[in-house]
Every structure is written in C-alpha cells, then in structure tokens.
C-alpha cells in the first residue's frame, strides 16, 4: 500500500516541471521593454492612488476564523463516519450531541451577525 505514494511523488515532480517549463519558455521567448508606465499598477488609466495593502473589511477575518473552526469540526466527522456502522446507537447519540453543540454555535454566530454581508 505504501508504494502507492510513489505515484503522487512522480506526478508532483511532473506537474512542477511542467509549470516550470511554461514559465521558462515565456521568459526566454518573450521580448521585454519595461517602461515606468507599464510597471505601474493598473487602476483604470489613472495614476495609482494611496497604498494597495490598505485596511480591509473585518468580515474577511471573521470568515477566516469561522472557517478554521468549522473545517476542524468537519474533520471530526470523518473518523466517526468511517466506523459509523460499528459504533451503532451510542455513536449516533454522541454525534447528535456534537452536531447540536455545533448547531448552537452556528446559530449564535448567525444571531450575532457574523454571517451578514452588507
């Protein structure tokens, strides 16, 4: 079974080589005449104004935090689901409690407005 990972390793190398080949080809074959205007950031034709890496909406941070919480909770589902049949009723009840807690958490975030986008 462990030998199966050889395939992934080879594929990864082939994929990276392919990407590198693309980059190298265009790097070698293309002409480059950089000018100051060309190098400036595209802002619909006017000169770029202010700093790009500006402050942005806190909503994106919220999504990131919620994602980490919920993704980890999704991972907890997998081991349970794979031996779900052996666990029987006790497993089902335990999972119901877990889902209930998860649901309460989601409902709380919902009520608090963490999922709202205006």
């Amino acid at each position: 079974m462990r030998q199966a990972y050889i395939g992934i390793a080879i594929l990864l190398v082939v994929g990276l080589l392919n990407a590198g080949l693309f980059l190298a080809l265009s790097h070698l074959a293309s002409v480059r005449r950089p000018t100051k205007v060309k190098a400036s950031a595209y802002e619909s034709g006017i000169d770029p104004l202010g700093d790009t890496r500006d402050r942005f909406s806190v909503k994106f941070y919220m999504v990131a935090i919620l994602f980490i919480v919920f993704d980890i909770e999704t991972i907890f589902f997998f081991p349970w689901a794979s031996i779900f049949r052996e666990l029987g009723l006790p497993g089902l009840i335990a999972m119901s409690v877990f889902v209930l807690v998860l649901g309460v958490g989601l409902a709380y975030e919902w009520k608090k407005g963490a999922l709202e986008w205006e």
Binding site: M1, Q3, A4, Y5, I6, G7, I8, I10, L11, L12, V14, G15, L16, N18, A19, F22, L23, L25, S26, A29, S30, V31, R32, R33, P34, K38, A39, S40, A41, Y42, E43, S44, P48, T52, R53, F56, K59, F60, V63, A64, F67, F70, D71, T74, F77, F78, A81, S82, F84, R85, L89, L92, M95, V99, L102, G103, L106, L115, E116, W117
Partner: protein
C-alpha cells in the same frame, strides 16, 4: 492474477502518469476551445472558426501567443510570490488527479495493473487537502500584484473558497458513511452491483444521496471559481480580479489551471456520485481488487477501454453542464454567495448527516442487507427530503437574506420605491 509489485509497479506508474498528464493537458486545451464553441452556440454565433479546420487550431494559436507575449512585471510587486502564484494555480489542479480511478484494472504480463495513478490509503482526504491548496494561488496573486483590483479579488476569492470548502468537506461525510472507507476504488465498487464479494449498493450515489450530490456539485463549482461563482475575477467590478496584473504565460497558467480544475471537479463528481467508471446495467465490469490481492470478476483489456470510455463520457457531460451553466446563469452577489455557503449548505448538511445516520441505523437494525432494497429506502428518504426542502422549507428563498434586506430598504423609503411583492422578488 496478482497485482503488480516492485519495479514493474514503478514503471507502470510512471507510464500511467505520462500518458495521463499528456491526456489531461490535451483535454484542458481542448476544453478552452470547446467552451468558446459552446458559448457561441448558446449565444447564436459561430465561436472560433478562423484558425484551422473548425477553428481547432485556435488552441495552438493561443498557446503560442501566451508564450510570445511580453511579461509585464508590476513595480512594487512581491517578486517571489508573484512568480509562485500561477504555479500554485496550476499544479494542485493537475496533481489532484492522482487518486482518481479512471478505468477497471487491466491484466498485463507482469501482473494486474490498477487504473489509478496512486491508490493511497488516505483516499479522498488527499483530494480535500490538495484542493484547499488552490486558495493559496489566489491569495498570493492578489497580495503580490500590488494592485487594488488584484487585492480585492484575492480577498473575495479566498473568503469564497474557504467558505465552500466546509460545505464540500461535509458533503463527503455521507459518502463515507455508506462506503466506510476513504479509498477511491472502494467508493466506485460500492456503487456497483456485485453478486458475490464486496458489499455494494447497486446504485450510483447521486440517487441514494441526492441532496449530498447537489451540495457537492454546487460547492465544487464554487471551488473552481467559475460563473456563477466567479466573484474573485468579476470583470465588471474588478477588471480581472486576482490576475489583473498577470500577463503572458503567467496568466496562461491561471487560465489552464481553471480548466484543469473544472475537469478535475467533474471527474470527482463522477467518482463520488456517478459510479466512476461503472457502466450501468452491465455486470461484466464488476471488477475489484481486494486489499489482500484477491481479484473479483474477470479483468480484460477491452473492459478497461470500455470503462475508461464510460468515465470519460460522464466527465465530459459534466464539463459541458458546467459550461452550459456559465453561459446561462448570471453571477451571484457577494452576500448571496456567502449566505448560500454558510446559512444554507452547512445547516442542511448537518441535519442531513444526522437524518441519514438515523435512517442507516434503523435499516441496519431491521436487518436489511446492503443492496438495492437498502439504496431504494435511501432514495425514497432523499426524495422526501428534497421535496420538503424545495417546496416546504425553501419556497424560493435560497437568497432570502438578500431579498429580505432589499425589501427592508424598500420599505424604509416609503413612497419613493414601491415594495415588490415577495413572489416577484423570489
């Protein structure tokens, strides 16, 4: 016949990878042509038809142009990440294919060759892990470009992809509950119909897991970042989104990556919900290599070719379906998109998993063996749930959060805006 081992295995694996990689690149290139033809057909125009017969050489012309165009490097860009981003846009989409079983095993002189690049024990966990790498390409491109459009596109794209990743992961839990194993070949054979040997449900999982298949389809489409989920590059608002500053082959790699991702998503749906390489209503393709090396069924070369055809046809039909969607449905608004992910799919999947668990427990207790009666019962359950969800609970309110706000706002400015009747809004 025993499965391959040792040097023969390594050589066979390398050969499979080379053949598969070339095939994938050809399919990706062709799908860029195909998409423009489909768009042309839907919009009642010809599509590409100048370069070569039927415009088929358009693909070559595009590739040449990508390579020969000037590479513009924006000033103030973070060079390292600027170079790395397109690589991360393309490589994960191609590497994902490693665990895809694409045909029934084939007999060779050196042993039985399984038609999968790497039958790893972690199975679809590998898919989830690699698929989540795709978000780095978008984030890096957005951050490194030093352009506001790219930055906003990167932000939007990353938030969208992580949101739908939760739904995507959750929609694989029911599959795992039925199969009890994460390995992809086992998922395929669980959807077949074995007279003897491994337990199988005798139905493609899109029937007994209808709701899950739907959630996976939509979440998978959202992960590819195509219309109606292309908020990361919404050209009407963000010029090109995260790849605004990219040119020549570096843009081409994002472009190819998008199509590779499209094909991979279609293939994943095929394996999880459309029986993989299974040919419907035919028992001859019930071939399976067990963990201890026992082979069930009679593998032959022509069966391998037939089953590969079946896999390819299913995948291509799904690709066509996604293209059809792209040219038919308008883009979501961002709040609708987030609402669909967090407020619709996640609660639905949480409830669904518990209902399915209860149903499976009751069916097991009733002593019904895994087979067509078992899946029949699940199909009925799923139909009831689909009907309840769509006509009972939902009533056209998937985007309720958004429409209710519109209504609130319309009500706020009394007299100036006539509030639309709910039925018309929905």
């Amino acid at each position: 016949m025993d499965p391959m081992t040792g040097t023969a295995f390594v050589i066979a694996t390398t050969l499979k990878i080379l053949v598969f990689f070339v095939l994938l690149l050809v399919f990706v290139a062709l799908s860029t042509y195909f998409e423009r033809k489909v768009a042309g057909f839907i919009q009642d125009r010809s599509g590409p038809n100048r370069v070569g017969p039927l415009g088929l050489l358009q693909v070559m012309a595009d590739g040449l142009k990508f390579i020969l165009k000037e590479e513009v490097e924006p000033g103030g860009a973070n060079k390292k990440f600027f170079f790395l981003a397109p690589v991360l846009g393309l490589v994960p989409a191609t590497v994902l294919f490693a665990v895809m079983p694409f045909a029934s095993p084939a007999p060779t002189r050196w042993g039985l060759m399984e038609m999968i690049v790497a039958d790893v024990p972690v199975g679809f966990l590998y898919v989830l892990a690699i698929a989540s790498l795709g978000v780095y390409g978008i984030v890096m491109a957005g951050w490194a470009s030093n352009s506001k459009y790219s930055f906003l596109g990167g932000l939007r794209g990353s938030a969208q992809m992580v949101s739908y990743e939760v739904a995507l992961g959750m929609s694989l839990v029911p599959v795992l509950m039925l199969v009890g194993n994460v390995q992809m070949p086992e998922i395929v054979s669980a959807q077949q119909n074995f007279a003897t040997g491994p337990a199988a449900y005798g139905a493609w999982f899109f029937l007994p897991l209808m709701l899950t298949a739907f959630v996976f389809l939509v979440a998978g489409l959202a992960e590819t970042g195509r219309v109606p989920f292309d908020l990361a590059e919404a050209e009407g608002e963000l010029v090109g989104g995260f790849h605004t500053e990219y040119s020549s082959m570096k843009f081409g790699m994002f472009f190819l990556g998008e199509y590779a991702h499209l094909i991979t998503t279609a293939a994943l749906i095929t394996v999880f919900f459309l029986g993989g390489w299974d040919i419907p209503f035919w028992q001859g393709d019930n071939i399976r290599v067990l963990a201890d090396g026992t082979v069930i069924g009679e593998p032959t070369w022509w069966k391998t070719l037939l089953t590969f055809g079946s896999f390819a046809v299913k995948t291509l039909i799904l690709v066509l379906f996604f293209m059809w969607l792209r040219w038919t449905i308008p883009r979501f608004r961002y709040d609708q998109l987030m609402d669909l992910g967090w407020k619709v799919f996640i609660p639905i999947m949480m409830v669904y998993i518990m209902i399915l668990g209860l149903a499976m427990y009751l069916l097991d207790e009733a002593g019904i063996p895994v087979g067509w009666q078992y899946s029949g019962a699940l199909i009925v359950l799923n139909l009831i749930m689909m009907v309840t969800l769509i006509w009972g609970l939902d009533r056209g309110m998937i985007v309720k959060g958004a429409t209710s706000r519109t209504r609130r706002r319309a009500g706020g400015i009394r007299g100036r805006m006539t509030p639309t009747a709910p039925s018309e809004v929905d």
